[in-house]
């Protein structure tokens, strides 16, 4: 995993970046320590046409139907002077209370697609539950799939392409974790819940409790 500030590799479980000392508290210092309330699709920049908003929500719902434990949120902002898209995404995923996401899907199971329409850049941040399945490369590939549509300003098509592309590593990870859950989860700094007490649960159909990751586990 990489530090959102210095983009250096950091060890899973590090409470602060060993290179630059970055931690959640620093992000709070920049963007605020209070939680904010948002919908999972927020077009603050106002770049998505009205007729495209409903299809956009449909895309997000389809994703949730396919992955009952996960959700995707999209934030389209027009920032005046945003220093770091990575840091802002990191802060937003941890400080946002999504009002239209059910309680069974905590932020640790969320994927945040953050687009700065002024700086013309997009980023992806994901919760702890997805760390065994997603990484920098797979998320960049997903963003690349929407690149031509981002250029055209067709954000509906762009986000649809990005989300469809994100499904591929998730499905692949789902297959891998079925075969060898302990090893796959360990790659993302996760352990199978109850594994240490002898209650091994490997079933893919095991419903998520929604408490995945630190702070909610």
């Amino acid at each position: 995993m990489k530090c959102p500030r210095c983009v250096q590799k950091i060890h899973l479980g590090a409470s602060s970046c060993p290179h630059c000392g970055f931690a959640m508290v620093h992000a709070d210092g920049v963007f605020g320590s209070q939680d904010i309330k948002l919908k999972k699709f927020s077009d603050v920049a106002g770049v998505v046409r009205m007729k495209d908003r409903e299809p956009m929500r449909k895309v997000l719902e389809n994703f949730e139907a396919k992955f009952p434990q996960l959700f995707v949120s999209v934030y389209l902002g027009a920032f005046e002077d945003l220093n770091s898209l990575r840091q802002y995404g990191f802060w937003m995923l941890n400080r946002t209370n999504y009002v239209d996401v059910d309680a069974q899907r905590p932020n640790s199971t969320g994927i945040l697609i953050l687009v700065d329409v002024n700086a013309k850049s997009a980023s992806i941040t994901f919760g702890y539950a997805l760390m065994p399945y997603l990484d920098e490369n797979s998320t960049f590939e997903a963003l690349s799939a929407g690149h031509p549509f981002f250029l055209q300003g067709d954000y509906l098509k762009a986000l649809k392409a990005v989300i469809e592309k994100l499904e591929i590593p998730l499905v692949r990870g789902w297959r891998r974790v079925r075969k060898n859950p302990i090893e796959v989860l360990a790659r993302g700094g996760q352990t199978l819940k109850g594994y240490g007490s002898g209650q091994e649960k490997t079933g893919a159909s095991e419903p998520s409790s929604g408490k995945v990751g630190r702070g909610e586990g």
Partner: protein, 358 residues
């Protein structure tokens, strides 16, 4: 013309001068004109028959012949007459083909359309004929191969043109092979491959050889005879091709040979598709494909729908925090879409943001 006239006139000048000088001056008697004159003694001997003009040149033999009452015809000495001209010492020698040439003639050792291991043709003649035969082969369907022998040479009993064609030429190729005897075109032999024999009538084939021989015999020089023979043969072969084409046959592959009415293709003859259908194995295979292909497509479609509706539930996991973040610190890729010409990978932002500001 003018030069000739000058030359003649120049030659006449000394003669006119000489005549002028020899003319006796007026009042003088006749003088010698420069010719030899008989002296009185010789003149008398001549008139009496004792002296024979030319006897000093012809010698004794002339003297005797002239003195004899009956003059015999001089004949060449029989010993001299019997000396044979240079050439083959015996009939057998001229007819035999050297064994060293057998390989080239009868074992397929000869290359190209003109085989002349005995070098009966001069280099240039050989080259001309070879070029001609190569062109014929390039432009027309029936290739023509020439094997050159001397006029009197005999093909060994164990060898034959038919055997040569069968053993060293492919039946599927339309071709004509000729054993040509230099200076003796009447002895020429011509054999066609089965591809030609199957579609061309015997009389047409024989006509080609007959016309070539007749034309060759109009020349006396062996090399010219070969030229004419090969040209006429080439023309004949082209005519054969035309005949076959007119009759709806083909010299190139396939089995639609036409020789007579029996072999002429009928309008309702089954085509390739009908033949395939009639083949049981092929028809079963086609039927299988016709059934399996839609089934596979349907299967893929169903699987796609199932996959679309499929839900993916992950195992419950727990882990230690990262960067003291409550929900997640999965920092993914950052893509810039400023440039429409640069590729997405070249617009990947993988350096710290504070460095980008610099």
């Amino acid at each position: 013309m003018r030069k000739d006239l000058v030359f003649v006139l120049a030659g006449m000048i000394p003669l006119v001068c000489a005549q002028t000088l020899r003319k006796p001056p007026p009042g003088e008697g006749e003088v010698s004109d420069g010719l030899p004159e008989w002296n009185d003694q010789e003149l008398e001997a001549l008139e009496s028959g004792e002296y024979i003009p030319g006897s000093s040149l012809m010698g004794k033999l002339a003297r005797e012949i002239l003195d004899s009452e009956t003059q015999e015809v001089i004949v060449l000495d029989p010993a001299i007459q019997e000396i044979a001209e240079e050439g083959p010492k015996s009939e057998e020698w001229s007819k035999a083909i050297g064994e060293e040439y057998f390989s080239a003639y009868f074992r397929g050792g000869g290359n190209g359309y003109l085989v002349d291991p005995q070098e009966l043709l001069a280099t240039q003649e050989f080259r001309d004929r070879e070029i001609f035969l190569n062109r014929h082969a390039r432009d027309f369907i029936i290739d023509c191969h020439f094997y050159l022998f001397d006029g009197l040479q005999e093909i060994p009993e164990e060898e034959s043109l038919e055997a040569l064609v069968e053993s060293h030429f492919e039946d599927d190729n339309p071709l004509a092979v000729v054993f040509y005897f230099m200076g003796n075109p009447r002895r020429s032999q011509l054999v066609f491959s089965n591809r030609v024999v199957d579609v061309v009538k015997l009389e047409d084939r024989e006509k080609v050889l007959r016309l070539a021989i007749e034309d060759a015999l109009e020349k006396s020089d062996p090399a010219s005879q070969l030229d004419i023979f090969s040209i006429q043969l080439s023309i004949g072969l082209v005519m054969l091709e035309e005949i076959v084409t007119k009759e709806g046959g083909s010299l190139l592959g396939g089995k639609t040979f036409v020789m007579d009415e029996e072999n002429r293709p009928r309008p309702n003859q089954p085509n390739l598709w009908d033949k395939l259908i009639s083949n049981r194995w092929v028809s079963n295979t086609l039927l299988g494909i016709a059934i399996l292909l839609p089934a596979c497509l349907l299967g893929f479609r169903v699987r796609r729908i199932i996959n679309k509706r499929k839900t993916y539930v992950f195992p419950i996991a727990e882990g230690s925090g990262l960067l003291d973040a409550p929900h997640g610190a999965g920092v993914g890729g950052v893509l810039s879409f400023v440039s429409s010409t640069a590729s997405p990978s070249s617009q990947k932002q993988d350096v710290p943001d504070y460095l980008q500001k610099i």
